[in-house]
């Protein structure tokens, strides 16, 4: 359940970005989680529901986009999307591959709320 500390790191980073932009709150955060990142999107969602309690982010929407694994094969040169939990080439079954996508664990975009009062006098 390292998702909880990951959710907490995300919230800390989001808080820093909110403060930097002097925003009044955060409407939503878009995250990318690769299927090989070792992070379970459902566990992460649950972690957010706990971690945001009694914070400024209780109403923030956490959008978790799953990024499928894609591997480039060093044997046949093809790029394929493995359907199992471990990365192998779907074309020739080789395990000598480089992971192209799937390890992502990223904050993609943040939708900040700017208090309108500040925008017009």
């Amino acid at each position: 359940m390292h998702e909880l500390s990951i959710a907490q790191s995300i919230i800390e980073r989001v808080e820093a970005i909110r403060a930097e932009h002097e925003a009044s709150g955060i409407a939503s955060v878009q995250l990318q989680v690769g299927t090989l990142s070792g992070v379970d999107p459902y566990a992460l969602e649950l972690a957010f529901s706990v971690a945001v309690e009694r914070t400024l982010y209780a109403d923030t929407r956490w959008d978790i986009e799953s990024v499928v694994a894609r591997v480039k094969c060093r044997t046949c040169g093809r790029t394929t999307a493995p359907d199992g939990p471990f990365p192998i080439c779907m074309n020739c079954d080789s395990t000598d591959i480089a992971i192209v996508t799937g390890r992502e664990l990223m904050i993609d975009t943040i939708e900040v709320k700017q208090d309108e009062e500040k925008n017009h006098v």
């Binding site: 390292h2 990951i6 409407a27 309108e116």
Partner: protein, 254 residues
């Protein structure tokens, strides 16, 4: 949905002029002037790794270790695989030959540190409390305490957990996965994240093999499937079988 007027069209803008035209196909009156209590939203592109902070600290640890000529290995396995027992035997064998230091992590208690004490290597315990893994900061904070001039190898014994510690770089040179024969030969397939990252696996408790249906060849095949070129040790810290190869390897490392 637009938070200002509640319509379904998000691609429009609102101005503060109450007599403005709506460009989204319906109209409604604004009875208020300037006392808006709602917010404008701005989307910021961040594109930042979630564990960027941990990775930064891990890079700092890695640099510090390199400057002090220390090789650090991050030992990861399920609870009960025998990390601490193997370390006890390892420290005894390396005592007086290779300078060692240990940082060991558990959720609670300093039992492991007590077991590892008095074997010629400084040992520090991290109690992680609720966390199921070690992070770069707490490990790096202990370097000055645990690493001496003669230290060549730092063993970082992670919290017993096959999943979570894998995601957190500590600044080690590499990870070593441990797998006991009682856990089954298909463990590398069930938990590929660790085995695909660790270049070395130690299969422990081989003294129990006569009592089990464990298929060592299938285990090695599974390890290679997840990690081609995986370096595998088979040993029993209890009987001492296979320990020589591991000790030789560490002596070369140090």
């Amino acid at each position: 949905m637009c938070d200002e007027c509640g319509c379904g069209d998000v691609d429009h803008t609102h101005t503060n002029d109450p007599s403005h035209d709506h460009d989204h196909g319906h109209s409604h009156g604004h009875s208020h002037g300037h006392s808006h209590d709602h917010d404008e939203k701005v989307v910021l592109s961040v594109r930042e790794k979630v564990l960027a902070r941990n990775e930064e600290l891990a890079a700092k640890n890695r640099l510090w270790l390199a400057e002090h000529n220390v090789t650090a290995v991050n030992l990861i396995s399920a609870p009960g695989t025998g990390k601490t027992f193997l370390l006890e035997r390892t420290l005894e064998r390396l005592q007086g030959r290779v300078g060692c230091a240990v940082i060991t992590g558990d959720q609670q208690t300093d039992n492991d540190a007590k077991r590892l004490a008095g074997k010629g290597a400084p040992v520090r315990q991290i109690e992680t409390q609720s966390a199921c893994h070690l992070e770069a900061q707490r490990v790096g904070d202990l370097f000055e305490e645990v690493i001496q001039d003669e230290t060549r190898i730092l063993f970082i014994e992670n919290v017993g957990n096959l999943v979570c510690p894998t995601a957190f770089d500590l600044g080690e040179n590499f990870k070593i996965a441990l797998l006991s024969v009682t856990e089954g030969e298909d463990k590398p397939l069930k938990y590929p994240a660790l085995f695909s990252l660790a270049p070395v696996t130690i299969v422990t408790k081989t003294d129990l093999l006569p009592h089990l249906d464990f298929d060592m060849e299938a285990c090695r095949e599974n390890l290679r499937k997840v990690h081609p070129g995986m370096f595998v040790f088979e040993l029993s810290a209890k009987s001492g079988d296979g320990l020589d190869g591991w000790i030789d390897y560490l002596e070369k490392l140090g």
